[in-house]
């Protein structure tokens, strides 16, 4: 009987052991220690927040969140306050996996941007949708959703863009700070522009242009819109107006806005007016002037590969003597980008925090953390600048290949005329008021060689189309 019992007990032990999970319950002592360390982290976060050491406070708060694998209501409130001071740039220092556990509008917006970059549009929409209407970033979140849907070809994008325009307008009129006003105006303009872009894609060029005209000339995005508007006129076969808009880039006010694509469009406009000599001159100029400059820029980018080096272009205190005109132009363009402005603002605040703490004689550990944060921030901004430089070089290469195609086509046309013993109606058809298309509310002033700020973007050439072919003998 005893042996039976022993065997039975052994069997039951084996059966039980299969399901047994070894769980280590924290002892009361350990639990107490964990609680007290959590309390300590929170206390430190609050203390630093009160002393306006926002980055350090954020560090302790995130350490607490990581430890507890989540965030309490009280901690989330502090997080919102901190992020409103630091901006979203410090969030790049933390793992997106950790950030996903936090339900906070700032973090949702950051994650939406993070997944948008990765082209994970489902997650982008999920995070952007979680930003409530009451939040100050609601228009931006709507813009992200609208753009995502637009890229995916979903017609629902219109609803989100409408919400974006409406909310941005409302919030812009409700704030007094100029900085915030500019921010909301920029978001609103972006939503309006996306509407115009959609109409262009659907071949509704006149309606698209009407929306572009609503954007004020003082808007940050306005110089870039000139090119898009010029494309609309090109599609409407109003080559003179398209050339006039592109000529605006020659004005001293817009000298830093060199957009390589505008050179292709200029050449295409001349080509379509059958002004082959003008097209050839323009292409020649491009290859002589811009190609060399771009080669210089290429050499410059190849030489400097460190992201932190590019940060210096944005930092106002450094690198004021830039000789390369492209680098200068890119620097000026970048300084007007929202992302650069927001991130550089965050960096400056962190630098001030570091300098203040250093002067106070803060602990080595705190200073080292801030140094590390600043380095990462510089790299992040620098990488963005670097990306822009690479994008610009690629654009130049692309334009060069397209310009070459236009040049070949011009040669081919000229050869055709020669073979058919024909010539164009005029060697150089020049401007005339008759060739300017204008609306009933537009006035006509002749260009006297000077650019006036209020006239920018309203220029039109008066070139006559030279596409009529005549027999060579008749002309002579």
């Amino acid at each position: 009987m005893k042996t039976y019992l022993i065997i039975l007990s052994l069997l039951t032990f084996n059966l039980n052991s299969k399901d047994t999970k070894i769980t280590t319950k924290p002892t009361k002592k350990k639990e107490k220690a964990a609680k007290s360390s959590s309390r300590l982290f929170y206390k430190k976060a609050v203390k630093h927040y009160r002393n306006k050491n926002y980055n350090l406070s954020l560090y302790f708060l995130f350490s607490l969140i990581k430890k507890n694998n989540g965030v309490s209501k009280k901690e989330n409130k502090l997080l919102t306050r901190l992020l409103s001071q630091t901006g979203t740039l410090p969030l790049y220092l933390y793992d997106p996996g950790l950030l996903e556990k936090i339900n906070n509008p700032y973090i949702s917006l950051h994650l939406a941007g993070h997944y948008f970059k990765k082209k994970d549009y489902q997650k982008t929409m999920a995070y952007a949708s979680s930003v409530p209407e009451s939040n100050k970033f609601y228009p931006e979140a709507r813009l992200i959703i609208g753009s995502t849907l637009q890229l995916e070809g979903d017609p629902k994008f219109k609803t989100y863009l409408k919400q974006c325009i409406k909310s941005a307008h409302k919030k812009s009129s409700g704030v007094f700070a100029k900085k915030f006003k500019l921010y909301y105006d920029l978001i609103k303009e972006n939503c309006q522009i996306n509407y115009a872009r959609e109409l262009y894609a659907k071949d509704k060029y006149a309606r698209s242009n009407a929306i572009y005209t609503e954007i004020p000339k003082t808007a940050f995005s306005w110089p870039y819109l000139l090119l898009e508007k010029a494309w609309n006129y090109y599609k409407l076969k109003d080559y003179n107006r398209s050339l006039g808009l592109l000529m605006t880039y020659e004005s001293p006010l817009l000298s830093s806005y060199f957009l390589p694509e505008s050179e292709i469009l200029k050449a295409l406009n001349y080509y379509n007016l059958c002004l082959y000599n003008d097209t050839a001159i323009l292409i020649e100029k491009f290859f002589k002037v811009y190609k060399n400059r771009s080669m210089n820029l290429r050499g410059f980018v190849k030489k400097h590969k460190d992201a932190e080096y590019y940060f210096n272009f944005i930092d106002k205190r450094l690198n004021k003597n830039i000789s390369n005109p492209y680098v200068k132009s890119l620097k000026n363009q970048l300084k007007k980008k929202l992302k650069i402005n927001l991130h550089y603002g965050s960096y400056r605040k962190t630098r001030k925090e570091y300098q203040r703490l250093k002067a106070k004689g803060a602990s080595k550990r705190d200073l080292e953390f801030l140094e590390f944060t600043m380095k990462k921030m510089r790299q992040r901004i620098g990488r963005h600048v670097q990306e822009y430089f690479y994008y610009f070089i690629n654009q130049i290469n692309f334009v060069a290949s397209e310009m070459f195609n236009i040049r070949l086509e011009v040669i081919s046309r000229k050869k055709d005329l020669l073979y058919n013993d024909k010539t164009l109606v005029a060697k150089r058809a020049r401007g005339s008021f008759k060739n300017v298309n204008r609306d009933s509310d537009e006035f006509f002033y002749t260009f006297q060689g000077a650019f006036w700020a209020d006239e920018l973007g309203d220029y039109s050439f008066g070139l006559k189309s030279n596409c009529k072919e005549v027999e060579k003998n008749n002309k002579e």
Binding site: T88, H110, K339, N405, I406, S412
Partner: protein, 82 residues
């Protein structure tokens, strides 16, 4: 012995019968052609005037740059937000 002679002769006979004959080809060393005596019979069918009828010249046109949409700009604008 007699049998051996017979068999040898039979084999030799077969060998001779299968052996190929050597053909030696000889070419004429010189041939004289009198072109003046040659005559060609037929009718002249060529037109009186010299004319060339060429195919119509095919015009190849290059596909020049054209913008279909601004999708790149839409994406870039969002990437430049934050």
């Amino acid at each position: 012995m007699g049998k051996l002679y017979v068999i040898t002769f039979i084999f030799l006979g077969i060998n001779f019968s299968f052996a190929q004959e050597k053909i030696v080809e000889k070419y004429v060393k010189r041939q004289r052609v009198d072109l003046g005596n040659m005559e060609i019979e037929g009718e002249v069918l060529t037109p009186g005037d010299l004319s060339i009828q060429g195919d119509k010249r095919k015009r190849f046109r290059m596909r020049l740059y054209d913008r279909d949409d601004f999708k790149f700009e839409i994406r870039n604008d969002v990437l430049n937000l934050r």
